[in-house]
Amino acid sequence: MRNTKAVFKKQFKDTLKNPAQLIQFIIFPLIAFVMSALIVTDFEGVPDDIAEIIAASMPTINMVTMQATVFVGMGLITVIPGIISEDMEKKSLRFLMMAGVKPVSYLLGVSGVLFFVSFFTSIAFSFISEFSGLDFWIFTGAMMSGVAASIILGGMFGILAGNQQAASGLVLPIALILGFGPMIAQFNDTVANILHVSYTQQLNVIADYLTLGGGDTPLWQSFAIMWANVAVLGVLFALIYRKKGLKR
């Protein structure tokens, strides 16, 4: 516990001082904020029938839904492999281990920071969407489930890669699918069916449910799928960790 806390403190300070990392937590809510402000939703003074036509022709994509999905599926996933591989490359991980820090404490400390900071990103999204009451908690729950899945997945890549370049090479294709897949799924049923079992797709479904109203998937099912993702990724992580360990 003491070691986890030490790593958490170090990582928190380091993340705050690392613009390349910090931006991942800020940029997506910012884009969502700017884009939602730009999209016209106010039809005052426009005749009703015309307003209806405009509304019908506007994309049904909700900016918050989209950016939240991209944050969880793409932005966040790249962060943890970056941290692990940098600590390996610069040999600072070796000094931690020699001082008696167990790999598990290290991984918990690092993921703890990302989970913590992601919480604020999630709140920023809620704020932009003006979620409150139950909606706020549903959204936060969905976001943090997705965040957990992405941290575990990112951790796997961190263990597999061992250096920063390899890490980003491994992560990118998966991150693109998870981050942008749900958006494509809105226009393509085949993609939607395939991605149905993925946690970012369900995050998308839940966020859309909250902003645009009901869909085909009941809320409990979306959550069940997300948690199943976390469980499966957790098991996969354990297997890979057992096999490869944390190279120092």
């Binding site: 003491r2 070691n3 806390k5 030490a6 790593v7 403190k9 170090k10 300070k13 380091d14 001082k17 690392n18 610069k90 040999k91 600072s92 991980l93 070796r94 000094f95 931690l96 020699m98 001082a99 008696g100 820090v101 120092r248």
Partner: protein
């Protein structure tokens, strides 16, 4: 009491036999120098003793567990975006020592004024001092230093010698590698010389020199070293 030892240790990297047969013992409370030309396997020995590598054959032993070991390796492993103090605080937290002790350690390596400076902005010598501060922060029982004073100005180096000496006086064992023969002569209680994968000479620096003194010449450690290794690096 034996603090560090190797017995008939062998280590190869592929075809390259780096350690052929290495045996030595280090006692509690001594400053022990490992001398050898570049590429002779000094870092490899430290890596084996600190369990970052395993021997192919033979034994390696360190009397204390890893939390009582202090380390200075070839790579500094510092967090480049954090300040000097923040770098040490990570280990202060891990070892559960007081802030006062951390600040004292920074003072001992002359980095008090630079405690808020981020590592990226430190000079090479300052980085090295910070690395030493991290290594001695928890008053380790056994301290491994891989070339601790390379790239340090003579004055700072002297400060480091004092630090190492103080630690020895408190009963710690210091195991260091160096290219600097004068340093080894003045600092080390005993040294071993590594060449071609074996120990070619060992003992107190003065004793070694005396052994090679002849009728006409008084040898210093460097001359002995050059004579024994044939003056050629591998």
């Amino acid at each position: 009491m034996i603090s560090i030892s190797m017995k008939n240790a062998k280590k190869s990297f592929g075809e390259k036999e780096v350690l052929k047969d290495v045996t030595f013992e280090t006692y509690e409370g001594e400053i022990f120098g490992l001398l050898g030309p570049s590429g002779s396997g000094k870092t490899t020995i430290i890596n084996i003793l600190t369990k970052q590598l395993t021997v192919d054959d033979g034994e390696s032993y360190v009397s204390v567990n890893s939390s009582e070991i202090g380390l200075m390796l070839e790579h500094d492993g510092l967090y480049s975006r954090l300040s000097c103090l923040d770098n040490l605080i990570v280990f202060e937290d891990i070892y559960g020592i007081s802030r006062t002790q951390t600040l004292e350690t920074l003072d001992r390596v002359g980095l008090t004024d630079a405690k808020k400076t981020i590592v990226k902005q430190l000079s090479h010598g300052m980085r090295q001092r910070l690395v030493i501060a991290r290594a001695v922060l928890h008053n380790p029982k056994v301290l491994f230093l891989d070339e601790p004073t390379s790239a340090l100005d003579p004055l700072t180096a002297r400060g480091i010698y004092k630090l190492i000496g103080d630690l020895r006086d408190r009963g710690s064992t210091i195991f260091l590698t160096t290219h600097n023969m004068e340093e080894a002569t003045n600092l080390c209680d005993r040294v071993i010389m590594l060449h071609n994968g074996t120990i070619i000479e060992q003992g107190a620096p003065k004793d070694i020199c005396e052994r090679y003194n002849s009728f006409k010449t008084t040898m210093d450690l460097e001359s002995v070293f050059v004579q024994l290794t044939g003056g050629t690096a591998q």
